[in-house]
């Protein structure tokens, strides 16, 4: 990354804005790497996270789960794969943790091919590790993946067992105690979708919730890219919404506060979103800086008639 990176070999003779304009983009990549890795290391060493002030949408997610009586059924649709796990896994983890702590009965389904594996990993990480008293089949079950997108949602409205005939262990739906009282998706008082796109929260609203929101409530966690498309449904169709890692961090801080035990440190796996807000802060500041420098450069060029 020396003079060879500049188109003009006599780069030092160019005005500063010309040189800045021709900067090798690998310098930007390096700075971004430092902007992200610095806070990751700092938070990793100190364990400190930034404080979060939960917004209305995140508070609503917490309250929707909190107000359910113990042993209520909750349907959790894992509609993402590892690509978006950076943003969505902390949400899924905290949602399952709050449900498990509230002693709610959880039924996991997946409309994305790899969603079943994500659900399995979340079950292992939260339920099996920290709530071993919960029994598979009685307190929670992973029904796995079903192909068909919106058609599966439509089928869930009429016959749950037809849409998901077996769980991920191969057990028939009719033999799973937790599903004894479930005929259709509307038998769940709460539906949670953690979604990264299609099919996901938007389709749940369009095909299930819009027609049946008097019977069941719906909360969603989504990626930053999807959040603008879901805000129009909040709070009528989507009772609570977690948008991107910021929403996850807000919700996570509420769950951690509600389950905090004096003298016991919250395990790092339950503060992943809060830990990621540090790198996000520095990366965003770096982006703002880049945009400002880019524009100073732009106006300098314009002034000299080079733009």
């Amino acid at each position: 990354m020396s003079a060879a990176n500049f188109n003009n070999t006599n780069a030092s003779a160019l005005p500063w804005f010309e040189r800045l304009d021709r900067i090798d983009r690998r310098w930007i990549f390096l700075l971004m790497f430092l902007a992200v890795s610095g806070p990751i290391l700092w938070i990793g060493v100190t364990g400190k996270t930034l404080p979060e002030a939960p917004t209305l949408a995140a508070r609503a997610v917490f309250q929707e789960i909190d107000q359910l009586p113990a042993r209520s059924l909750v349907l959790i649709s894992i509609d993402f794969d590892p690509t978006s796990a950076g943003e969505l896994q902390p949400m899924a983890t905290s949602l399952v943790r709050q449900c498990a702590a509230k002693n709610l009965r959880m039924v996991f389904i997946a409309l994305w091919p790899l969603g079943s594996q994500v659900a399995q990993q979340t079950i292992q990480e939260v339920i099996r590790d920290d709530y071993p008293a919960l029994k598979e089949g009685d307190d929670f079950v992973n029904m796995g993946f079903q192909a068909g997108n919106e058609a599966v949602m439509k089928l869930l409205l009429t016959d749950f067992a037809k849409a998901f005939p077996k769980d991920s262990r191969g057990e028939a739906a009719s033999n799973i105690p937790i599903l004894n009282s479930v005929k259709s998706v509307t038998d769940f008082p709460l539906l949670i979708s953690v979604s990264a796109g299609y099919p996901g929260s938007k389709e749940w609203v369009q095909y299930v919730i819009s027609a049946h929101n008097e019977k069941m409530n719906f909360v969603s966690g989504c990626t930053g890219v999807n959040a603008p498309q879901l805000y129009p449904y909040f709070p009528q169709q989507i009772a609570g919404l977690l948008g991107a890692i910021k929403g996850a961090a807000e919700y996570e801080s509420m769950v951690n506060s509600s389950l905090a035990v004096e003298g016991v440190v919250t395990p790092p796996k339950y503060s992943q979103a809060q830990r990621r807000m540090g790198p996000q802060l520095v990366a965003h500041l770096f982006m703002v800086g880049l945009i400002i420098v880019g524009n100073i450069n732009f106006f300098a060029r314009k002034r000299r008639g080079a733009a």
Binding site: I28, F33, I291
Partner: protein, 232 residues
């Protein structure tokens, strides 16, 4: 015949699904078509696999640029398929210990689970994380205040970038209560809930009308472009 039969299947299935939402008597017909759709969706995975293999084998046989990537794609595909189909490393279901293939690929310790955890997850996460680098480079080179619209976009981007982090609290947290709506963390939410919602609703209504119009054209057999073959 190759076009007429699929067209009639679409017309009958489409009307059945539509009527099942409005007419209680047609509910069971809607269920039947939803069942059929699920089977077809599962078959689509087989077609997808066939298409992937065909495309990459052609690329390989022609030694097209980047054929090495096709080798990696096909190799990964075959290995994963083999592991998934033959349930390598999967223990039998405790309820059916005699049946060797009764266990689940999702179970911990299976080869598929290993591929998922140690190959797929890091690879896909890395691909997604690369976006941050390209977005930073693009922000530096392309995000310029060239006109009024671009300035509005820039200001909104600043509010959102700062408001969605602790920087917003540090910079504007001192604003008095009566001006709390102008605090960056609150203002970013206001932008999302008012400007964004209004814009998105307009787009969604437009799309819905377009989808309804296209759907009706397909249901009445006017639009046949989805059948392929070049004839609209």
């Amino acid at each position: 015949m190759k076009r007429i039969i699929p067209m009639w299947i679409a017309i009958i299935g489409g009307f059945a699904m539509m009527l099942s939402s409005f007419v209680p008597l047609a509910e069971s017909a809607g269920e039947v078509f939803a069942d059929i759709f699920n089977v077809v969706a599962a078959i689509a995975f087989v077609l997808g696999a066939g298409s992937l293999a065909k495309q990459h084998l052609e690329k390989l046989s022609r030694r097209e640029a980047g054929w090495g990537y096709s080798v990696v794609t096909l190799g990964s595909f075959i290995v994963t398929l083999f592991i998934g189909m033959f349930k390598i490393g999967v223990h039998p279901n405790p309820n059916f210990p005699q049946a060797a293939y009764s266990g689940s690929n999702d179970a911990e310790g299976s080869a598929w689970s290993w591929i998922y955890e140690y190959m797929l997850t890091p690879l896909t996460s890395t691909m997604f994380a690369l976006l941050a680098f390209f977005v930073a480079s693009a922000a530096f080179r392309a995000f310029r205040a060239k006109n009024t619209e671009a300035i509005l976009l820039l200001v909104t981007a600043f509010i959102m970038l700062l408001g969605r982090t602790f920087a917003g609290v540090v910079l504007t947290g001192w604003f008095p209560e009566w001006a709390s709506g102008l605090r960056l963390e609150n203002f970013s939410i206001y932008i999302m809930q008012v400007f964004n919602t209004a814009g998105n609703r307009a787009i969604m209504i437009g799309i819905a009308l377009g989808v309804a119009a296209t759907g009706l054209r397909i249901l009445f057999g006017i639009d046949r472009s989805w059948l392929g073959g070049g004839e609209a």
